[in-house]
Symmetry: C3
Amino acid sequence: MRNPQLNRNGELTHLLTLDGLPRDIVTHILDTAETFAPLAEREVKKVPLLRGKSVFNLFFENSTRTRTTFEIAAKRLSADVYNLNINASSTSKGESLLDTISNLSAMQADLFVVRHSASGAPHLIAQHVAPHVHVVNAGDGWHAHPTQGLLDMFTIRHYKHDFTKLTVAIVGDVQHSRVARSDIHALTTLGVPEVRVIGPMTLLPGGLEQMGVRVFHDMREGLRDVDVVIMLRLQNERMRGALLPSPQEYYKQYGLTAEKLALAKPDAIVMHPGPMNRGVEIESSVADGPQAVILNQVTFGIAVRMAVMSIVAGSTND
Amino acid sequence: MRNPQLNRNGELTHLLTLDGLPRDIVTHILDTAETFAPLAEREVKKVPLLRGKSVFNLFFENSTRTRTTFEIAAKRLSADVYNLNINASSTSKGESLLDTISNLSAMQADLFVVRHSASGAPHLIAQHVAPHVHVVNAGDGWHAHPTQGLLDMFTIRHYKHDFTKLTVAIVGDVQHSRVARSDIHALTTLGVPEVRVIGPMTLLPGGLEQMGVRVFHDMREGLRDVDVVIMLRLQNERMRGALLPSPQEYYKQYGLTAEKLALAKPDAIVMHPGPMNRGVEIESSVADGPQAVILNQVTFGIAVRMAVMSIVAGSTND
Amino acid sequence: MRNPQLNRNGELTHLLTLDGLPRDIVTHILDTAETFAPLAEREVKKVPLLRGKSVFNLFFENSTRTRTTFEIAAKRLSADVYNLNINASSTSKGESLLDTISNLSAMQADLFVVRHSASGAPHLIAQHVAPHVHVVNAGDGWHAHPTQGLLDMFTIRHYKHDFTKLTVAIVGDVQHSRVARSDIHALTTLGVPEVRVIGPMTLLPGGLEQMGVRVFHDMREGLRDVDVVIMLRLQNERMRGALLPSPQEYYKQYGLTAEKLALAKPDAIVMHPGPMNRGVEIESSVADGPQAVILNQVTFGIAVRMAVMSIVAGSTND
């Protein structure tokens, strides 16, 4: 069975997940992003790679921030961008997801950026689009958020250069985090020898050890001598209810404070996918401190999304 | 009294309805669309005809799908496009429709694409805009949906070539369908010798015979030997209440099944304006079958809308 | 303490308020707008001044009309425009305003156009943005609406030429009007010798005399021999409740009728920021009459916003 993200020549034609994506393709994306990063400094921040192409942002789940980063990336590639809030549209008229997709394909779309609350929706769409359409997953359920995973890798490589010497800790609500899943797959693929996950038992999924990950419930222990700390957002809905005692208690045990960060290597970097809950999973002084590279992640994210879009749009998808 | 869609030279300056639109103008639109259709296959799908022009999508009634087709058409003509959801705006502040229109005209709009739940709203707007503004009706109440009618004609001509030899059947809820009205006017104008309408008495308007249309209540009878079947969407709100016994009963009598389609000519084409209710007005195997040209309609719709916009924007409107 | 709108060379780098803005800068904006006004008549209404720049419309308070005028101005300058309805986004996820702004800055924004219901929000944002980002206030609370003030000045100069010989009356709900505040500051700065404010005691703020303004409660007295009448919109919510007896009574006392307008100079012009409440603060025959320049204000507004955006984006902000 062929990887549904690759065409018959083994080139990336859709980006659906980092799970199983070959290392040379991940590296190729990061290298391509490297060429786009300097654009940010230029007067005119545009290249004509996708001129005349149509990029559709299909957001079945609202996310202004993520949608905007894709819109920026697409416009910097000179594409025409169409933002579709699909909830308000045809699906409310009883049309099926696949009929909606067929219709948009027939409008000669070149690229669908898909955010959906259901895990697997971008895969389903990729299987049904016309041969001229490419699909990029912008987050599906708890499953995957591959462009976030890639921009995290870009950030780590930018500051730490060599993946094969690193210890990376991911902290927080891994169970409900598509970012964590994408990061773990990418780190493993890129040869990071020690990937750690830190969190309370109620917020860690099963099967982490099989993914090659070391599990810690004690944050102080887990942070010891790491090079990279990736904090996860604690969704508001987790803060109440059975999974957690209280936000205060969570902060005490799993919030990244300056005192806990001191256990990591002195030059460790601190990452977060945003938006942050200051005082819940991260102390403000750390979020704004010299080790934080959180806003740099946002900047790099534009270059990484430009890389992904230009690579898939440049491939044939059969 | 002059046709409000034509300027003093008899050129199309607004597109409001297909009722009374001269045959040579309809044909000119279809011929122009023919020149845009090959763009879809090109690397860069753009032409500079409306460069620097401002197209305003004024959707007083929400329709992501239709709005998107106009947005694509306008951007392929290199126009700047502004999407205005008017409900949320000035009219909620108590401003009248015509004050809103005067204001937008004063922003130097070139073209208004208007969707409104009230029949006649685009006419009213066309009568009041400044001389430099053109109006295209994107659907008003039950009255007209002229670009849908034109793309249907484009589709029929593409597959059947000669209108003067055809039998065309329109099936379903004609009473509440602006698409049906626009199709009937266009088919008659283009010289189709037999236009049939098929539906239950409760969903057919009066006066159809005067429009030159043959009425059938028995679908099997009405489909016999037709060249073209145009299925209409059954609005959800019609499915309950007094007009129809039940969706199941409707499907049995007026749903397009493979078995009923077999009564049409063997090379008959099946059309639908979308979105479809599979299993209500059309069987899935027919919707996806070899005679269906439903997605081609969508593709042709872009070229037809480009044609309409470039023609009206190229005219003076007095 | 440096004016937060000016950089160290005294150039405009943010536009936050007209209060304290030097006269030569106001005049420079009006002169620059003068060069953009003829664009409206051209076939291609665009100039490449902001090509490749990213303008973000950050509307924390909904206003389709104002947002659209900025979007038009930005696109005519060839910028890429991103419309963000912030309510629906991160702030609903509990992220702070400043974290949202930091994030958007990190996406390499060049210009933020900010509308916010809280007075002072654009100042706060301007203090925190990265050095490459410029802020334009599109209306904050009751505080300021500087681009409306500037387009009003442009309109007055267009019709009356010399500010130093004018009597200008502002009529209505000054208390809740950011437009009135911006107009008063600009008129004073530009040397208008007599600025009058007309309204009921309940709708006038304290301190007007200290701003150099003459206060009238009798409209007939206040309009006598004025050159310019600026009518203010009466917000619906003021019409009920304790501040006003009734809309009818308000109209009788402070509505601009033809009869009251006759007390002004014969060539007086009538302005209104829109949207108008016909029959509440202005008689329809006056709104549509020969002295009204209300739609011209809208047209000039595009040129003025182009001027503001091109000036601030062309400055360094430190």
